[in-house]
């Protein structure tokens, strides 16, 4: 991120990093998570689950900030994000 001045609290701000978990067989391929992730972390895959739907996959893991929007939007309780440490 480009900053126009150094924020006063820069040394205290931590940027969380997340990992995406998927319960593949619950996914119905609605694309909500991949469409609305504000950081473009997800994309739809071309693989099939046993029900014939395309589950999402991660396109850019480093960009996830654990906002949790995918967890909240998923109508199937199929995706969630967990915080795994942070960048300074």
């Amino acid at each position: 991120m480009k900053l126009w001045r150094k924020p006063l609290d820069q040394d205290r701000v931590v940027v969380p990093r997340g990992e995406i978990h998927l319960i593949v067989e619950r996914c119905k391929g609605c694309q909500l998570c991949a469409t609305y992730c504000p950081r473009d972390v997800l994309e739809m895959s071309s693989l099939f689950n046993t029900r014939g739907y395309h589950p999402p996959q991660v396109r850019n893991a480093r960009r996830c900030l654990v906002c949790g929007l995918c967890t909240m939007l998923c109508p199937e309780f199929a995706i969630y994000v967990e915080e795994v440490g942070h960048d300074q």
Partner: protein, 278 residues
């Protein structure tokens, strides 16, 4: 094969699973239906509310929305069509300590259950009602509902609806509800907050959720994919807190006014009953 998914950790359980009946998942709702997200918002609201889950009861009527109670790992009841509110009223009167929530569809609550809705509001029964409005009877293949916008097509109005629809927030406010809000499913955070506020409210609280039914209503009205329908409702909505719900009619086109409309305090039915006792 699915282990070829890039950078995804394959799991068996979801953090919300403790409030869900996992043996019933995946649920029956169509791909892209808004109902699953409403349930996610409800579970997320429950996690944030400091409540004893043994004291929370969810009651549903019949319809796609009516399945909600059956997916929750809480006490609940799937009542007959339209009778979620009277069943919930009985529960609340039998055990006033309970937090009783009704999650049901527009058809269930506004058509066959319409009278129960207005009289529970009039009495100010201490219940929370989450009315999922998909503008039709989804479960029975997309018939006209009392909330179907004028001119909208459904399986029983193939040439366009000739009726005026109910405006749910206006009806709720006019008949006596103490908390009234409306959101679309994509307003997940605001919806979650309104569910929390409604459940904390003493009295008859109503949250209307505008939700896509891509399989019937969306198809009849050529609204595109589930995702497009969801985005359409979100894009058309204007947040106007505390505005007059009389102005919040929903037409086939045009804006959808969302926000919190009513938040007032007045004695509940139980309060008045106890007062009469003394």
């Amino acid at each position: 094969m699915v282990d070829e998914l890039t950078d995804v950790l394959i799991s068996k359980h979801h953090p919300m699973d403790k409030l869900l009946r996992q043996d019933r998942l995946p649920h029956i709702w169509c791909s892209g239906c808004g109902l699953g997200t409403v349930l996610t918002c409800f579970v997320s609201a429950l996690e944030k509310l400091d409540l004893d889950m043994d004291q929370v009861v969810v009651v549903s009527g019949i319809g796609c929305t009516g399945r909600a109670a059956g997916y929750l790992n809480l006490d609940g009841f799937h009542t007959t069509h339209g009778r979620a509110i009277p069943f919930a009223t009985g529960l609340k009167l039998g055990n006033p300590e309970l937090k009783v929530v009704v999650i049901s569809g527009d058809g269930d609550l506004m058509a066959i259950g319409g009278n129960h809705f207005i009289h529970a509001a009039r009495r100010n029964m201490d219940l929370t009602v989450i009315c999922v409005n998909n503008f039709n009877y989804g479960m029975t293949s997309g018939q006209l509902a009392p909330t179907t916008p004028t001119n909208a097509r459904t399986s029983t109005s193939p040439y366009g609806n000739a009726e005026h629809p109910f405006n749910v927030p206006y009806l709720a406010a006019a008949t006596g509800a103490t908390y009234v809000a409306r959101w679309t499913v994509l307003h997940v955070r605001r919806l979650e907050r309104s569910i929390i506020e409604a459940m904390n409210k003493r009295g008859f609280s109503v949250v209307e959720v505008i939700s896509p039914c891509p399989t019937y209503y969306g198809r009849w009205n050529k609204m595109g994919s589930a995702l497009e329908q969801m985005k359409y409702y979100h894009d058309k909505s204007t947040i106007r807190h505390w505005s007059d719900p009389a102005q919040a009619d929903i037409g086939l086109e045009g804006q959808i006014i969302v926000g919190r409309f009513v938040d007032i305090d007045k004695p509940t039915f139980c309060d008045l009953l106890q007062g009469a006792d003394q």
